[in-house]
């Protein structure tokens, strides 16, 4: 006998399928330490084979975003996979990406001279199955342009990240999500002096068929940690300390 909840769940999935969201496209592997953010996406899985949008303004914000993106990419890739990074006037310093678990020589940089070339290269890259992810720094992306990218991706299942360098030019797109990453004061273990593990305020401004939200995420050497867990752990440490004392 089907309960009411089951019926609603089944209907929700049907609606999703009719809206064009294909659950079989998304991978079933989870990202270590990001389960709470993943829960915001439909079916509770970070959607690969989709296009994500990230706000990427020059300077501090770009730094925080590229750190988070690097960490995200490292959990999507294997050592031999190739990432395409297309941009005009790039400031990314490759050796730093190693901190987030990617070998910098896995990234092939395409330094275009015009914004138009970036868009073209992005589409070509998204069509190529051998590539794991394509990252493109773009100022503008119109709705019809994003539709083209979506069509390219539907056959190849490549994951795309569009870094929007101009926040004033945002418009509706077909991208599956829009992220904003800003820096938060870093954390050190046990209150040691100095700059500690990077920590970010990760906002999901919009998610297609999902739940937008806001999280405090840290990167602890090789995996993500979401703040509330850390808070709990910190308490545990304190308790342990007391017990030992």
């Amino acid at each position: 006998m089907e309960t009411k909840q089951d019926t609603i769940n089944r209907l929700r999935k049907e609606i999703l399928a009719k809206q064009g969201f294909k659950p079989e496209l998304a991978s079933t592997s989870h990202i270590k330490g990001l389960s709470e953010i993943e829960a915001a996406f439909p079916n509770g899985v970070f959607p690969t084979g989709m296009i994500h949008e990230m706000l990427f303004q020059k300077g501090e914000e770009a730094a925080a975003c590229s750190g988070f993106l690097g960490a995200l990419l490292s959990s999507l890739t294997v050592p031999e996979s190739i990432i395409l990074w297309i941009s005009v006037g790039r400031n990314l310093f490759p050796p730093s990406i190693k901190t987030f678990g990617i070998e910098p020589h896995q990234i092939v940089f395409v330094d275009a001279t015009q914004e138009k070339q970036v868009l073209w290269a992005l589409e070509e890259g998204l069509k190529c199955q051998g590539i794991t992810a394509v990252v493109a720094e773009l100022r503008e992306l119109s709705f019809s342009q994003s539709k083209r990218l979506q069509l390219a991706i539907e056959e190849s299942h490549v994951t795309g990240f569009v870094l929007r360098t101009d926040a004033t030019k945002l418009s509706t797109t077909t991208c599956v999500s829009r992220w904003q990453v800003t820096a938060l004061p870093s954390e050190t273990n046990d209150g040691m002096p100095g700059v500690g593990f990077p920590k970010w305020n990760v906002e999901l401004l919009r998610v297609r068929n999902g739940q937008p939200g806001k999280w405090e995420v840290g990167w602890h050497g090789n995996q993500f940690q979401i703040a509330q867990q850390e808070a709990k752990k910190a308490i545990n440490y304190q308790k342990l300390g007391r017990l030992r004392a």
Binding site: G59, E60, A62, A63, A64, S66, G67, F68, G70, V78, E80, S81, I82, N91, L92, F93, P94, P95, S96, I97, K98, T99, F100, E103, P104, H105, Q106, I107, V108, F109, V110, D111, A112, T113, Q117, W120, A121, E124, G125, K127, C128, Q129, G130, I131, A183, L184, P185, S186, P193, G194, V195, G196, P198, K199, W200, W219
Partner: protein
């Protein structure tokens, strides 16, 4: 194989060229003039002017006295060179080896080409007819040596000199048929040598003593006793395919078909040799004589026609067919060893071993330029700007590990920006700094990390780097150039941490 050369002479090259463009000049005496030593002299004259007694090198004032209604045009410096080059390139249809013979001729190495036109007589007849229909007066002769062909084209009516008979054929020609300078010719004339055979029997040592080396050299070159250097206009490519169009091609579809045809033939040949294309050029020859070319390059040697075609396809727009293209030539300028792999059932390779990725990168390189596609490899150097090595090679693997001991910023400014800081005591991180008019109060800091300049490469101060975090949690990479308190100490912001 026995060499055969053809010399082509344009007696009135420049005036013919002008007459083709201005047909009304055909019926009037017409000369080109050029200034030499502050006076105007004739540099070329047409046949009407010549029949009235004008000749090259005559003063223009004298010529005008003879023919008051003479039509005069200003000559330009390297006109004949440009003209001959263009004509020479057009002549590649008759032989792949064409050489310039300044100031008024061309030399063909027509060895093994003439039978395609039905013998040497017909070869010359065809070329002459072709030039005549365009409006050029030409004279030509074929002989065993360049010297003999040159002489016969200019000084004799016979056009084909049978092999090994150039000595006999040239015996009655004047000494000027030997391409000599004026001084030697003057000497020969004064001594009464009117024909070549009158002095060709004189012992060589005597000739050299009287007239110098040049005469002997020219004589031996004409007779075929000394090899003469032949410098072809275009060195033929060993991997070259030609496709002549029956009718001029004017459409994109036509060009696409031509490219596919050429690639099919070329790739079939290369597959047999175990090679593949790395760089190739497609040249198109238009019926109005214009030549256009497009070139492609690949990251690995390939014989995949579809892929190569796609690379050419990107650039087809740049070809302007105008009235039509009559000849397509595909040249492979760089070949490489291709591993002719079995067609795999599924694409199992990942990353840069995957053909799909390589083909994508070829495509991108075709559009944005191969220099714009780069990877970075670690280098064992500390100076941040030099700690990475840029490479365009997709196969290159890192020779060392990426360093993980020192943190590096995710965004590095290509040019460090000057900032104002308040720093308490030497070797302490700054308390605050001003960047782009914002005051950042340093809450946490790491450092200093001193990086010395590579003194064998450039001069300057060392850098003391600090990682700092401001009141908003934003992280920066700052450095002080030089020692604390020194005169030229300056603080810079070099990057942003994640």
């Amino acid at each position: 194989m026995h060499k055969r050369y053809m010399s082509l002479w344009f007696p009135t090259l420049k005036t013919d060229w002008k007459t083709i463009r201005q047909p009304e000049l055909a019926k009037v005496p017409f000369v080109f003039s050029t200034s030499e030593k502050n006076r105007l002299i004739i540099s070329a004259c047409n046949s009407i002017a010549r029949s009235s007694g004008l000749h090259v090198g005559m003063r223009l004032a004298d010529a005008k006295a003879i023919l008051p209604d003479l039509c005069v045009q200003q000559d330009s410096e390297d006109r004949e060179l440009k003209l001959l080059k263009a004509i020479g390139e057009w002549c590649i249809r008759y032989t792949p080896l064409v050489s310039l013979d300044l100031p008024d001729g061309l030399v063909f190495d027509c060895t093994g080409c003439t039978h395609l036109w039905g013998g040497e007589e017909n070869y010359i007849r065809e070329i002459k007819a072709r030039f005549k229909s365009k409006g050029y007066t030409v004279r030509a002769a074929i002989a065993d040596t360049i010297g003999a062909a040159w002489a016969m084209a200019r000084f004799s009516k016979s056009t084909v000199i049978e092999p090994r008979s150039q000595k006999l054929a040239m015996s009655n020609l004047p000494p000027s048929a030997l391409r000599l300078d004026d001084v030697t010719l003057d000497k020969l004339r004064k001594l009464g040598f009117r024909t070549i055979h009158s002095f060709s029997a004189i012992p060589k040592s005597n000739l050299r003593r009287r007239f110098g080396d040049l005469l002997l050299l020219r004589l031996m070159q004409a007779y075929g006793e000394v090899e003469e250097n032949f410098k072809p206009l275009n060195v033929p490519e060993p991997y070259q395919e030609r496709l002549a169009a029956l009718e001029p091609i004017r459409t994109r579809v036509g060009i696409e078909i031509a490219i596919r045809e050429l690639l099919n033939v070329m790739c079939n040949r290369l597959v047999g040799e175990g090679k593949g294309i790395r760089n190739a050029v497609l040249k198109t020859f238009r019926i109005d004589g214009k030549q256009q070319s497009i070139d492609i390059g690949t990251n690995q040697a390939t014989c995949n026609v579809d892929h190569l075609f796609k690379l050419f396809e990107q650039k087809i727009e740049t070809i302007r067919p105008a009235l039509g293209i009559e000849l397509f030539v595909l040249e492979v300028t760089l070949i490489g060893d291709a591993d002719i792999s079995q067609k795999s059932l599924w694409t199992g390779k990942t990353g840069l071993a995957d053909n799909g990725v390589l083909e994508l990168l070829d495509k991108l390189a075709g559009k944005v330029g191969s220099k714009a596609i780069r990877r970075y490899l670690p280098q064992e150097r500390y100076w941040p700007e030099r700690s990475i090595k840029q490479t365009n090679d997709l196969k290159e693997i890192p020779q060392t590990y990426w360093p993980t001991d020192a943190l590096r910023p995710t965004q590095l400014l290509s040019k460090p920006e000057v900032i104002l800081v308040t720093a308490p005591i030497p070797d302490y991180p700054p308390m605050n700094f001003r960047y782009k008019d914002d005051l950042h109060i340093v809450k946490r800091a790491d450092g200093p990390e001193r990086i010395e300049r590579e003194w064998w490469l450039d001069k300057g101060e060392h850098r003391d780097y600090y990682i700092v975090e401001d009141q908003h949690g934003k992280r920066y990479w700052l450095y002080r150039s030089g020692h604390y308190g020194a005169d030229q100490t300056q603080w810079f912001l070099h990057g942003f941490f994640a």
